[in-house]
Amino acid sequence: MNEELQLKLQAYLDGELPEAEAREVAAWLAQDSGAVGLMTELKNTRAALALHERGVNVPESREFYWSKIRREIERSDAAAHRPAPAPVSPFKWLRRALAPGMGLALVVATLFLITRPGTTAPGLGLTVATADAGTFTYRNFESGATLVWLPYPAENRLAGGGSGGNLQQQ
């Protein structure tokens, strides 16, 4: 089977052939076991891929994922000198966390804040003196843990991976 026929068979499967050509391929399929075999393979691959697509999820919490988007939006809005969207209270996350029926948030009280130099994060006991734009703070009240997430280092000059990065330079 040459390439042209192979591609025609594929186009038939994908519903991309004009009606007359589709009839020709159907007739060809009825008498050529090689074409049937190839068609079966193409169909099976398509079915397998359809199954694979389900089940890929963001490997971050909703709050963490959104906080980065919001930060970028605010940054780009500020850069464009457009009026920023109405600010949301930093306590929004806390309210959400404490609201009933919010799954995990029922037991974990959290607070997310973009922390800029000179700011005091309400409720965190944290005052930031120096920080790059993009630094933000997450607080889990229940566990007593505060995370300050830094955009530094952009290309990891501070630390490295487990296989020879600067992290291990002691």
Partner: protein
């Protein structure tokens, strides 16, 4: 009446000085966060369960946390204590009183973050960022005394 009040003030002042004179003992750890169940560096061991639990309570995407370096140190209000966690990562910590410490994180000798944080016992402060190969670096700071 005046004398007793004066005595009370003196006692409080002396007690206050004694408390302030007591140094805060802290522990800092440099941690490598990864989704690999083993660290390529055999010197790295998993962090202690207490730290792991705290890290798991944060929105970090990694499941495994390896201790790269741990260091205990004392801080006072008189001067900054410098803690070297790696060739490129240092902390400068100062006691501000009332369980509060001022922390500077330095990378390549430059301050990349500076803040003041209340650190009562059982609390932990974690500074972190991305590292290559879909991993992360973390510096944990907690009070031990």
């Amino acid at each position: 009446m005046k004398l007793s009040a004066l005595l009370a003030i003196l006692i409080l002042a002396v007690a206050g000085t004694a408390v302030r004179a007591a140094e805060l003992k802290l522990e800092a750890q440099l941690v490598w966060a990864s989704n690999q169940s083993t660290s390529p560096n055999p010197k790295h061991k998993p962090v202690e369960p207490e730290i792991k639990k705290k890290l798991e309570s944060l929105p970090l995407k990694w499941s495994y946390f390896y201790e790269v370096k741990r260091q205990e140190f004392s801080v006072s209000d008189a001067s900054e204590t410098k803690v070297e966690l790696s060739g490129k990562c240092q902390l400068e910590v100062r006691d501000l009183g009332d369980n509060k410490v001022e922390i500077s994180l330095c990378g390549d000798g430059k301050v990349v973050w500076k803040g003041a944080q209340a650190l009562p016992k059982k609390e932990i402060l974690v500074l972190g960022g991305k590292a290559p190969g879909d991993t992360g670096w973390l510096v944990t700071i907690k009070r031990i005394e």
